[in-house]
């Protein structure tokens, strides 16, 4: 099939019209001629001519009208036929016209219909316009459908548009890019629609012609639309009508309408012309603007509020900063004060303006300035400093301050500023000095005491040592005298010498005990863990002879605690207590028991030595621990009375306590409580222990 076939096919339809027209004219000419010839031959013929003449013209008109109507119908039928033919061909893929030519042919066809319609419209009333519009719309619709079908099948390519908004669907009447529609003034149904409008709404003219404009309007805006249209009918136009419409895809769009009424020669409204502008984007941007504006307003409000809060905070924290009980200041990288609080200013007494930009080195007391450079360099390197230094006040007084500073650096390690806090520690420093002095005094006193102790020890030792010598001589020579010259003396003389020996021996015991006592308080040996049971067994072995002589029994009631102490002194302690229990005992079978118990006070071990001896009256319980204190005559019980004093000294040197529970005739129990941890013995209490740095 070619375009020629198509064209001949399309124009074929002219023939019946032309034939009909020719026939009508011929008929009219025959009738006219017949009437004229009849009237010429007969007299009555003139009346027939008049009738023919009068009747001929309307008759011809009627025939012509009928024919043109028919023609119109015919054309429409042809177009419809053509459309379906092309459509089916396009779908089959068997149609092969030159696409642009085909399109031109259609244009021509449609224009033919339009011309026809225009001719008709010229004659018809406004009312009949609707029908013609429908016809045109159908043609329009058809052309759109054809082009769509062709485009889909790839047979038609729309010509390259002059601008990007080229619309191949624009109808002949509205070959415009604007969205324009014509509405029926009464029903508000579409009469005509520009392609742009159809695309915008998503409905073809055929669909639109069945719709009232109001159906397209968003339900909420319908009342407004009605009102506007009424005013248009009344006043002739309305501009800038903003409405929301809902298109075929159910999208809500904002449009601005300019509506004008169009009139015919009788001033009847033929239609309403609507010119649309899609203002969705504009509205949206307006909305956004509005929202933005609102947001900005809110933001502004919030900022104001924040500002107020900040101001309050500033006031509050400003007060905290300014009147804090510490001096705050900030230094720059040159060591100058950038900022400081009132406390600093008040403490130092300089006016603020003098403090700001002052080099902090100038605050230092003269003798502390030397160390500044190093300290500040350290601070810049480490970002932190803590030191005690001395500042000079405005009035020349100096105060001791404890300064702590933290630096804030940028990425290049340049000091931005620093947060420094200084505390006036003059009072504390004075106190420390005093404490230090007191400590030193105490240390000196301690040293003195230690020295005195040592001297005393030396003294005791030397005295007892030197006292021993003559005693030994005394004893030895008394013995020699008695042996060598005893027979030359009488009984009295011999007794005197015996007294001498006895006194010398007692003197020696006293001296020995004095020596032991002076040693007991001095714990020179190393402290170590001592198993009391083991220590007791050693002591019992040492005392074996005495135990045998007294026919006694010494029992260890295990378990005994393990304590911390000087092994030889603890042995001495146990020895003294056990031998006391044996010595002050009149039983046929003296029994001494050594036992331990856990004290209710944690950290203490308690040891007891119980005997079945003579017991001690409670009034003497304290006195028995005194040096050389004896409760019995030497004739009754031997001894110097140093044993328990020595025990007490040993216990005290271990930081412990000793006491006795006893009643006469019921035996005695000596208790020794010793701390588990080593407690520094009094004598070796060194000064470092007390020294507070």
């Amino acid at each position: 099939m070619s375009i020629k076939d198509l064209a001949s096919w399309a124009t074929r339809g002219n023939r019946p019209l032309k034939t009909a027209l020719g026939a009508a004219l011929a008929l009219w000419a025959i009738v006219l001629w017949a009437s004229l010839s009849r009237s010429a031959s007969t007299g009555g013929g003139s009346a027939a001519i008049v009738v023919c003449a009068i009747l001929g013209l309307p008759l011809t008109g009627s025939i012509f009208f009928l024919f043109s109507r028919y023609e119109c119908k015919y054309w429409r039928a042809r177009v419809t036929e053509l459309v379906s033919w092309i459509e089916s061909g396009a779908e089959r893929g068997s149609i092969d016209p030159a696409p642009a030519a085909l399109y031109d042919e259609f244009e021509r066809l449609i224009r033919g219909i339009e011309t026809l319609e225009d001719r008709r419209r010229f004659r018809l009333s406004a009312r009949s316009n609707l029908a013609s519009s429908n016809a045109k719309a159908n043609a329009n619709d058809s052309s759109c459908r054809i082009v769509r079908a062709l485009t889909r099948s790839g047979m038609y390519e729309p010509p390259e548009p002059a601008d990007s908004t080229f619309d191949p669907f624009a109808s002949g009447a509205f070959s415009t890019l604007d969205m324009i529609g014509r509405l029926d003034p009464v029903t508000l149904h579409w009469i005509d629609s520009s392609a742009a409008e159809q695309i915008f709404l998503g409905w073809s003219l055929a669909d639109l012609s069945r719709k009232s404009f109001l159906e397209v309007v968003h339900p909420s805006d319908r009342n407004l639309a009605i009102e506007r249209f009424e005013s248009v009918v009344e006043k002739g136009e309305a501009h800038g009508v903003r409405l929301r419409i809902v298109n075929s895809k159910k999208e809500t769009k904002h449009v601005e309408l300019n509506i004008g009424a169009r009139y015919d020669s009788n001033h009847q409204i033929t239609h309403l012309r609507c010119h649309w502008t899609d203002v969705t984007e504009k509205v949206r941007s307006e909305d956004e603007q509005r929202k933005r504006h609102k947001f900005l307003q809110q933001f502004n409000e919030e900022l104001k509020k924040k500002n107020r809060e900040l101001a309050e905070l500033r006031d509050r924290y400003g007060d905290l900063y300014e009147n804090a009980p510490a001096m705050y200041f900030s230094l720059n990288d040159e060591g100058r004060i950038v900022q400081c609080n009132d406390t600093l200013q008040r403490t130092l007494g300089y006016p603020r303006e003098e403090l700001i930009d002052k080099r902090v080195i100038d605050l230092l007391a003269t003798d502390r300035r030397g160390e500044f450079e190093t300290c500040f360099a350290d601070f810049l390197r480490n970002g932190y400093i803590e030191l005690e230094t001395t500042w000079r006040k405005e009035n020349g007084e100096t105060i001791v301050v404890w300064v702590r500073g933290t630096g804030v650096f940028d990425s290049k390690r340049k000091l931005l500023h620093s947060r420094c806090v200084a505390q006036d520690v003059t009072a504390r420093s004075v106190l420390e000095d005093e404490l230090h002095e007191k400590n030193e005094r105490l240390a000196r006193a301690n040293d003195e005491l230690s020295r005195k102790n040592k001297e005393l020890d030396e003294f005791t030792h030397v005295v007892s040592h030197d006292l021993q010598e003559p005693l030994r001589t005394l004893i030895a020579f008394s013995d020699f005298l008695l042996r060598d010259s005893g027979d030359k003396l009488d009984e009295n003389g011999r007794e005197y010498i015996r007294f001498l020996v006895e006194a010398s021996r007692r003197m020696r015991s006293l001296i020995n005990d004095l020596l032991a006592l002076s040693r007991a308080g001095r714990v020179t040996g190393e402290f170590s863990e001592i198993s009391l049971a083991e220590a007791a067994r050693v002591v019992i072995r040492d005392l074996a002879e005495l135990i045998r002589a007294k026919n006694a029994e010494v029992r260890i009631l295990e378990p005994l605690p393990t304590i911390w102490g000087d092994r030889s002194r603890v042995g001495q302690l146990l020895g003294n207590l056990i031998s006391n229990g044996l010595k002050y005992n009149n039983c046929d079978r003296p029994v001494v028991e050594i036992g331990g118990r856990i004290d209710s006070d944690p950290g203490w071990s308690v040891l007891f030595v119980r005997d079945n001896g003579i017991g001690i009256e409670s009034q003497f319980h304290g006195k028995i621990f005194q040096m050389f204190r004896r409760l019995h005559t030497r004739e009754e019980y031997e001894g110097t009375g140093a044993g328990l004093a020595i025990c007490q000294k040993i216990v005290q040197a271990h930081g412990g306590r000793i006491w006795v529970e006893s009643r006469p005739g019921e035996g005695s129990t000596f208790f020794v409580a010793l701390p588990d941890q080593r407690i520094a013995p009094v004598v070796s209490l060194r000064t470092e222990v007390l020294h507070v740095p």
């Binding site: 030792h461 040592h465 021993q468 010598e469 005693l471 030994r472 001589t473 004893i475 030895a476 020579f477 013995d479 020699f480 020696r508 020179t524």
Partner: protein, 151 residues
């Protein structure tokens, strides 16, 4: 019979000297006793032993040394003996009153062969000298000069 047991007694106290003498006598110890009463004399006496003219019998087999001496004290005498290669082989018995730990330790550190506290009772003196005699007999039969030669 035992060879002569030569004791050098360094003692300032006459009474103590007497006691030692009597103890030796009562203990029936064959002996020769040389007594010097202070540190200076002791060092002089020992110094003379280097003289080749000095009779071999003057060499003591044992020195009984008191620590508490006037002038040069016992420790000085002790350290002089023990730092001298010639004299150091002579056994030195320190005989003193003190039984202070520090003294004992110091004495041993100075090189004393033994440390004995002076007994408080005479009979113990007797036992002591007998014991010393026995000790010498068992350990010190060789003369110091011979031992020096061996070394």
């Amino acid at each position: 019979m035992f060879p002569e047991f030569h004791i050098l007694l360094v003692e300032d106290s006459r009474a103590d000297t007497k006691i030692i003498e009597r103890a030796l006598r009562e203990g029936k110890v064959e002996h020769r006793l040389t007594i010097v009463s202070d540190g200076g004399q002791a060092i002089d006496y020992l110094g003379r032993l280097r003289d080749p003219a000095c009779p071999a019998g003057d060499e003591p087999d044992l020195i009984l040394l008191d620590l508490n001496l006037p002038g040069i004290d016992g420790w000085q005498v002790l350290s002089t003996i023990k730092s001298d290669a010639f004299l150091r082989t002579i056994p030195v018995v320190v005989l003193t009153t003190s039984k202070r730990d520090e003294d004992v330790l110091q004495t041993y550190q100075a090189g004393a062969n033994t440390y004995i506290q002076k007994p408080s009772e005479f009979p113990r003196y007797r036992e002591l000298v007998v014991m010393l005699r026995k000790y010498w007999h068992e350990t010190a039969l060789k003369a110091p000069r011979d031992r020096a030669k061996d070394a």
